[in-house]
């Protein structure tokens, strides 16, 4: 799968409100096609673990029409960025989109933002 990230209206509405439930409910999610949801055997709101060679994160699955099979979209924010490398390939810009990712259903909990940030402080 290829991971991409980007803005959503609700993510934008909560830019100044990132510690809120509204932000968590919108941004700690992973949008994908109906086809991929069925292939993974997950229903909306069920948890999935997304892994890249840089990290892994648990988010809620969400079916989104218009997302092509093979693409997963996580709204920009701490959950998406837990999967992003800091390698800028000499251009100053990390690669936030088009990251090779694996995805699987999980029973693990989705970390709230404060708990997610704690993982960086160890």
């Amino acid at each position: 799968m290829k991971l991409i990230s980007g803005r959503t209206i609700v993510q934008g509405q909560n830019l100044d409100n990132k510690l809120s439930e509204e932000y968590f409910n919108e941004v700690a999610t992973c949008e994908m096609s109906k086809e991929d949801m069925e292939r993974l055997g997950v229903a909306a709101e069920e948890h999935v673990k997304v892994k890249t060679s840089f990290g892994e994160v648990v988010v809620k699955a969400k079916e989104k029409a218009g997302t092509p099979a093979g693409i997963i979209f996580i709204p920009m924010g701490p959950w998406a960025n837990a999967l992003v490398s800091g390698n800028t390939h000499g251009a100053g810009m990390p690669q936030y989109k088009g990251i090779d990712a694996e995805i699987e259903p999980t029973e693990e909990e989705v970390l709230h933002v404060k708990d997610l940030m704690k993982t960086y402080m160890k």
Binding site: I4, Q13, K18, G55, G86, T88, G90, G92, M117, M121
Partner: protein, 433 residues
């Protein structure tokens, strides 16, 4: 109740300046004319209530003077400080930021480095045939959004400036305009398009190259499918480009965030140039923060360079692949950071947050956010455009002055920065005695 007209929105690069706000008991109670995102910003959210300094793992409230003094001590003692952010505040604060960077020999970088930094590099390489949003509104009859979803990210952009707006020569609005959208997903913006080109992720460079070849008359070299888009659809797009009287490509993170980075933008600009062999065509980055264009301006006036500037040598040194905040953090090079008007805790790659969370961090912001979780000195600021005024630059580099709508006890970013600069100078003065 007081109604304030012509309010300027301080959220995204659209900087809409036709908002109407109602104020009652020194609070914004109603917002008219803003998009859903801008309205949420102007109505406000929970604040950082007090300046604070982290002691034994938790933030303890303190006075502004104490927080500013502590921030100055950290910065004056740092060997490789990073000053980052600057895009959700006003140019007046940014100017003091550059002065502070010179004073302490810091690296100063802004959010362009995780946004349109590649666009800046491309523009430095090949220039930018562009225009103002006013020209787009009054003249454009073909609008192309490429790797951008304004319906979510710049929700008033189409209505005020592009596809849906009505202008002097576009008085019938979208009736006489065409919309082309290039995106990986069929977004809300894509659903409005006359032509939607659903591109395979990361294939932008190839598709720009195909369009260039076709615009120069070499359609025979283009294969039947490029980046998931049929040759038929590409030819239709080229026909629309040639027939337009005034075309514009607006491009977003879908182009800057992928593998080819600035090379994508160079090719996008060259595609615009190819269209010049037929008609008037323009290109413009969809800038994100309301004043990211402004910090690029201020940083350029003051240092010669728009972002990722290293002032440790006593003169400005510019090499974004070396001095972007991300690169410095991944190399674990900086030993202290001042973060203002941005939130790297939410928007930097996990790999760079790991180092940021370990070094002393000073945060200046109106709102608590993921960066607050590991900040060591937290200084709450007035909200620019609501509680403080100042100049900002719209995405087309038009300067607009933000207005103050309500009074506040919070210090403005500019005052906080001046306070830190003064304290740093006092410390350096004592050291040199």
């Amino acid at each position: 109740m007081v109604e304030i007209t012509d309010v300027v929105c301080s959220l995204c690069g659209c900087v809409c300046d036709d908002i109407v706000v109602e104020v009652e008991d020194n609070k914004v109670t109603k917002v008219k004319g803003a998009c859903a995102v801008g309205k949420s910003k102007l109505m406000g959210h929970g604040r950082i209530e007090s300046p604070a300094i982290r002691e034994n793992g938790s933030l303890k409230d303190c006075s502004y003077d104490e927080a500013i003094k502590k921030a100055a001590e950290i910065l004056a003692a740092a060997r490789r400080p990073l000053l980052y952010g600057w895009s959700s505040t006003v140019c007046e604060a940014d100017k003091v930021g550059v002065e502070l960077a010179e004073e302490i020999g810091a690296v100063i970088d802004n959010t362009a480095s995780v946004c349109h930094g590649p666009s800046v590099l491309a523009i430095q390489d090949v220039g930018l045939p562009s225009c103002t949003l006013g020209e787009v509104k009054n003249r454009a009859d073909l609008v192309i959004y490429w790797g951008a979803n304004p319906a979510a990210a710049h929700a008033n952009h189409m209505k005020r400036y592009s596809y849906i707006s009505k202008g002097y020569w576009t008085e019938e609005g979208k009736k006489n305009k065409k919309l082309v959208v290039v995106d990986v997903r069929k977004t809300a913006t894509a659903k409005m398009a006359d032509v939607f080109l659903q591109i395979e992720q990361g294939k932008d460079y190839l598709v720009f190259s195909a369009l260039r070849a076709m615009l120069y008359g070499y359609e025979d070299v283009v294969p039947e499918e490029v980046g998931g888009i049929s040759k038929k659809d590409l030819l239709e797009t080229v026909r629309m480009m040639k027939e337009a009287k005034f075309g514009i490509i607006f491009f977003g993170m879908g182009v800057t965030h992928t593998g080819a980075r600035h090379n994508n933008i160079v090719n996008a600009i060259q595609t615009t140039r190819a269209a010049h062999t037929h008609t008037k065509f323009n290109i413009m980055p969809m800038r994100g923060h309301y004043n990211v264009a402004g910090i690029n301006q201020v940083c350029t006036w003051e240092t010669g360079y728009p972002f990722a500037v290293d002032l440790s040598r006593g003169y400005a040194w510019y090499n974004p692949g070396e001095h972007s905040a991300t690169d410095l953090l991944v190399r674990r090079e900086c030993d202290a950071a001042l973060i203002i008007a941005s939130d790297p805790g939410a928007h930097f790659p996990g790999e760079s947050i790991r180092h940021l969370a370990k070094i002393p961090v000073i945060q200046i912001d109106p709102f608590p956010n993921p960066t607050t979780e590991f900040a060591d000195v937290v200084i709450p600021a007035a909200i620019s455009g609501v509680e403080a005024e100042g100049n900002v630059y719209r995405m087309d580099n038009i300067p607009i002055r933000l207005r103050k709508l309500v009074d506040t006890e919070y210090m403005a970013d500019e005052e906080i920065m001046e306070g830190i600069l003064e304290e740093v100078r006092a410390i350096k003065g004592k050291e040199s005695e």
